[in-house]
C-alpha cells in the first residue's frame, strides 16, 4: 500500500485530549467503539498512527481496531472536507428523486460519492436514511458549526445551497 504522509495539526493537544479520554474509559467494558468515535471527533478521521496509538494504549490489536473501524460506515480512514454532505438515499427520498439531487451535487462539485473536492471544502457521502422522510429529498451538512438539515430539495435549490456555503467560505477567508 502506498504510504501517504498526513501531517496532523496541533498533534500534541489532540493526543493529550485522546489520552485523557482513554484514561477515563480504560476500565469500561466494550470501550473500543466509544474511543474510536472520540478519536474521530478530535482528529476528524482515523489516521493510521492514531489507531496504532489506541492499540498501544488499550492493549487491543491493531487488526481488531482496523476490523471495527472498517465495519461501521461512521468511521473514516481518510480526511474529509470542511463540510460533510450527507445525502439521504432512504426510500422516501428515492421515490422523490434523490438520484437527481445526487447528480446535481456531483455535477456542481465534480466529485462522486465518498470523494472530497480538491479545495477540501466538501465531502459527499450517501447515507441510508436521515429520518426526515416527510421532507424528502433531504440532505444534512455537517461542519464546524454543527449540522443543518435541508429538505424538499430540488436540483436548483441544492446548487444554490452549495454555492452559498462556498461563497461564505471565500469571504470568511479574505
Amino acid at each position: 500500500m502506498e504510504k501517504e504522509v498526513i501531517v496532523i495539526e496541533n498533534a500534541t493537544e489532540k493526543y493529550a485530549a485522546l489520552d485523557a479520554f482513554i484514561e477515563d474509559h480504560l476500565e469500561m467494558a466494550g470501550n473500543l467503539i466509544i474511543i474510536l468515535q472520540e478519536a474521530q471527533s478530535i482528529f476528524g478521521f482515523l489516521p493510521r498512527e492514531v489507531t496504532a496509538h489506541i492499540a498501544k494504549k488499550t492493549g487491543q490489536t491493531q487488526a481488531k481496531i482496523y476490523g471495527v473501524a472498517t465495519f461501521y460506515t461512521q468511521f473514516r480512514l481518510t480526511p474529509i472536507g470542511k463540510n460533510l454532505i450527507m445525502l439521504c438515499q432512504g426510500t422516501a427520498c428515492h421515490v422523490n428523486g434523490s438520484q437527481l439531487i445526487e447528480e446535481a451535487v456531483c455535477e456542481e462539485l465534480e466529485i462522486k460519492d465518498g470523494e472530497t473536492t480538491a479545495d477540501g471544502l466538501f465531502t459527499l457521502n450517501n447515507v441510508a436514511c436521515l429520518g426526515c422522510c416527510s421532507l424528502a429529498p433531504v440532505m444534512m451538512i455537517q461542519n464546524a458549526d454543527g449540522e443543518e438539515t435541508y429538505g424538499n430539495l430540488t436540483k436548483e435549490k441544492v446548487v444554490e445551497i452549495l454555492r452559498g456555503i462556498r461563497e461564505a467560505d471565500t469571504s470568511a477567508a479574505s
Binding site: 467494558a29 467503539i33 466509544i34 421515490v95 441510508a128 426526515c132 422522510c133 449540522e147 443543518e148
Partner: protein, 585 residues
C-alpha cells in the same frame, strides 16, 4: 402566555429554529418578557411544519401551521399584543382531522411538551407509572401486567414483551441488562427518532420499569449517531431524571438501583438485529451470532438481556398506569394497542401517525394520508422497509397488524409506510432495497453476502435491459434459498421486497425483460433518445457534441440517432437549440 414551537429534526429542517429565534428576539425587543417561548417535539403533521402553538393563560390553544420567519411579526402584533388570533395561519380543518383520526399512546406527548423540561413531563402524569411500579407492584406483577396487555415488540419481530421480561427475570444470573434499540435503520422510518426527540422521558420511564421488573441495574440506549438531536435530548433527560431521583441509586428511596447510559450506533443496519447490537455495544464488529442461546439467556456481555425498541418502551408507562385491560381494549385481539407509522412518499399528508392495530391500509393512506399526491393513482405501499413487502390496491382493506401482514408476505417492521404512485417502477424499487441490503450485509454468512450480491446483479440486468425470462426464475430460486439459509433476520428477509413485487407486479417485470420497456418510464437503461424530424432543422450541432459519433444526417436535413452506438448521455438533448431531441421509453 406560552408559545411552543415544534423543533424535531424535521421541524428544524423546515425552518422552525429560525421561527423560534424570530419570536424570542421580537418579543424581547417589544419588552413582552412574560411570554415564554419553548420548544417541543414533533407532533407528526410534518407537511405543515413549522408548527407554532400559542397557549393563553387560561389554557386556550391556538395552533398555527407553516409559520415561517416572515409570518412571526403578524402573529405577535395581532395575537400576542392585540389578542386576536391570525385566522389565516390557523391550522386547517384537514390538518386538525389528521390529528383527530389518530389514537396516540406512544406519541401522546410528542409535540405537546418541552422534551428538555422534566416538569412538563411530570405535569402530564410522567413518572407516575414508575412510582406505582415501585410502591404498589412486585416485579412479578409488573411482568404479568405487561403480559396481560398483550404488548408485542414494536421493532419488527412482534415477540410478546411480557414473556421476554418474564424469561429474563427468571434467569439465575445476578447481573442482567436492559437494552433499548434506538438504531432505527429502516430507510423510511422515523417514529423512534420522534419519540426520542419529542418525549425522551417516557421511554426512560419504560426502561426503568423494565429494570425493576427484571432485576437489572443497568440500561443501555443504542441510538444512531445520525440522530444528533435525539442523542442530545436523551442526555438532557437522563441528567434531569437522575437529579430528581428517578434514575441512579436508590430510586425514590426504594432501595432499587438502575442507571442508563447511551451508546452511539456507528452506522450499520445489521445492528438492529439483537445479537449484532449487543456485539456493537461490546465494542466489536456488529455481526449476528448463531442462536440459541437467545438474548434473554446470553445477551449483552453474555448476561441475560431484555432488548426492546423505543416504541415498545414508550408504551410501558401507559400499561402500568392505566392497567393491562384498558390497553388491550385498543387494537385487535392478537395485536393489542397502537402502532406508529411513518407515512411518506407520494402521499398528500406526510407525517407521523399512530393508529390502533388493525386499522386498514385504506384508512391510513386515503383518509389520514389524504390520498396520493398530485391526483395520481395509488399503486402500492412499501411496508417494513428492506425486510418488508409491498401492498397493492387489493390490500387496501387489509387490517394492519402483525398477523394479517405476515399472511400476505409483508411485515409491520418498524412501521415505515412509503406510498408509491403510478409513476413508480416496482422493479427499480426492488433493486433499490436489494442494493441497500447488499451494502448492509455484514458478510458473515454466504447466502446473504453472496446471494444478495447476485440478486442485485440480476436486478441491474433487468433495469438496464439485459434481463431475460430466465432472470426471473433465477431471482425466485435465489430468493427462497437465501430466506431459508441465511443466519439472521436481515438475510432471511432480504429477498422479501423482490418476492413480493415479483408476485404482485409480475407483468411489470415481464415488460422489462421481454418488451425491454419500463411501464412507469423510470428505468433510464430502457429509454432511448430520438430526434423529432419535424422540429430538427438539421443544424449539425448535436453531431458535433455527440461523444460517440452516434448521430447521422446531412446539413439542413433531419438527423437521426444510431441506437446501437448511443450511450444515452443526453449531451445532444442539452445541445439542441430547437428541443428536437426527446427521451422516450
Amino acid at each position: 402566555m406560552r408559545i411552543l414551537i415544534g423543533q424535531g429534526s424535521c421541524g428544524i429542517a423546515s425552518g422552525a429554529k429560525k421561527t423560534a429565534d424570530a419570536f424570542a428576539h421580537q418579543l424581547q425587543v417589544i419588552g413582552k418578557n412574560q411570554v415564554v417561548v419553548d420548544k417541543t417535539g414533533c407532533i407528526g403533521i410534518c407537511y405543515l411544519e413549522p408548527i407554532v402553538d400559542v397557549y393563553e393563560d387560561d389554557g386556550k390553544l391556538t395552533r398555527y401551521t407553516k409559520v415561517t420567519e416572515d409570518k412571526v411579526p403578524r402573529i405577535i402584533e395581532e395575537h400576542i399584543i392585540g389578542g386576536v388570533p391570525v385566522e389565516e395561519f390557523i391550522i386547517s380543518d384537514s390538518g386538525q382531522e389528521f390529528l383527530e383520526k389518530q389514537t396516540r399512546i406512544a406519541l401522546k406527548n410528542c409535540g405537546l411538551i418541552d422534551p428538555e423540561n422534566i416538569d412538563d413531563y411530570i405535569n402530564v402524569g410522567g413518572y407516575e407509572a414508575l412510582k406505582k411500579a415501585l410502591t404498589q407492584m412486585s416485579p412479578e406483577q409488573i411482568c404479568d401486567e405487561i403480559s396481560e396487555s398483550k404488548l408485542r415488540g414494536r421493532g419488527g419481530g412482534g415477540f410478546p414483551t411480557g414473556r421476554k421480561w418474564q424469561q429474563v427475570r427468571q434467569q439465575k444470573e445476578p447481573v442482567k441488562y436492559v437494552v433499548c434499540n434506538g438504531d432505527e435503520g429502516d430507510p423510511g422510518a422515523f417514529m423512534d427518532r420522534s419519540i426520542m426527540e419529542g418525549d425522551p422521558h417516557r421511554m426512560l420511564e419504560g426502561m426503568i420499569i423494565a429494570g425493576i421488573a427484571t432485576g437489572s441495574q443497568t440500561g443501555y440506549i443504542y441510538v444512531r449517531a445520525e440522530y444528533p438531536m435525539a442523542v442530545h435530548r436523551l442526555k438532557v433527560a437522563i441528567e434531569q431524571a437522575r437529579e430528581r431521583g428517578f434514575l441512579g441509586e436508590n430510586i425514590l428511596g426504594s432501595g432499587v438501583n438502575f442507571d442508563i447510559r447511551i451508546n452511539l450506533g456507528a452506522g450499520a443496519f445489521v445492528c438492529g438485529e439483537g445479537s449484532a447490537l449487543t456485539a456493537s455495544i461490546e465494542g466489536n464488529r456488529g455481526m449476528p451470532r448463531v442462536k440459541p442461546p437467545r438474548t434473554v439467556e446470553k445477551g449483552l456481555f453474555e448476561k441475560p438481556t431484555v432488548l426492546n425498541n423505543v416504541e415498545t418502551f414508550a408504551n410501558v408507562p401507559e400499561i402500568i398506569l392505566y392497567g393491562a385491560t384498558k390497553f388491550a381494549q385498543v387494537g385487535t385481539e392478537k395485536s393489542s394497542g397502537t402502532k406508529a407509522f411513518a407515512l411518506t412518499g407520494n402521499v398528500n399528508n406526510t407525517g407521523l401517525i399512530e393508529v390502533p392495530m388493525g386499522t386498514t391500509l385504506r384508512q391510513v393512506v386515503m383518509d389520514i394520508g389524504g390520498g396520493v399526491k398530485n391526483g395520481k393513482a395509488f399503486k402500492a405501499v412499501q411496508i417494513g422497509g428492506p425486510s418488508g413487502g409491498c401492498l397493492t390496491s387489493r390490500h387496501l382493506d387489509l387490517p394492519l397488524d402483525f398477523d394479517s401482514l405476515k399472511s400476505v408476505g409483508a411485515m409491520i417492521g418498524s412501521g415505515g409506510l412509503v406510498v408509491m404512485d403510478e409513476d413508480t417502477c416496482m422493479v427499480s424499487i426492488a433493486r433499490f432495497f436489494m442494493n441497500f441490503t447488499n451494502n448492509e450485509s455484514c458478510g458473515k454468512c454466504v447466502p446473504c453476502r453472496e446471494g444478495t450480491h447476485v440478486m442485485l446483479e440480476i436486478l441491474d440486468d433487468i433495469v438496464e435491459g439485459r434481463g431475460t425470462e430466465e432472470s426471473l426464475d433465477m431471482l425466485m430460486d435465489l430468493a427462497s434459498t437465501i430466506s431459508e439459509t441465511a443466519l439472521c433476520g436481515l438475510g432471511k428477509t432480504a429477498p422479501s421486497p423482490v418476492m413480493s413485487t415479483l408476485s404482485e407486479f409480475k407483468d411489470e417485470y415481464l415488460a422489462h425483460v421481454i418488451d425491454k420497456r419500463c411501464p412507469a418510464k423510470q428505468c433510464p437503461g430502457l429509454a432511448r433518445l430520438v430526434i423529432d424530424p419535424v422540429r430538427c432543422k438539421g443544424c449539425g450541432k448535436c453531431i458535433r457534441f455527440c461523444p460517440v459519433n452516434a448521430i447521422r444526417g446531412s446539413l439542413k436535413n433531419p438527423h437521426y440517432i444510431d441506437e446501437d452506438k448511443c450511450i444515452k448521455c443526453k449531451v445532444c438533448m442539452e445541445s439542441c437549440a430547437f428541443d428536437a431531441i426527446e427521451y422516450v421509453q
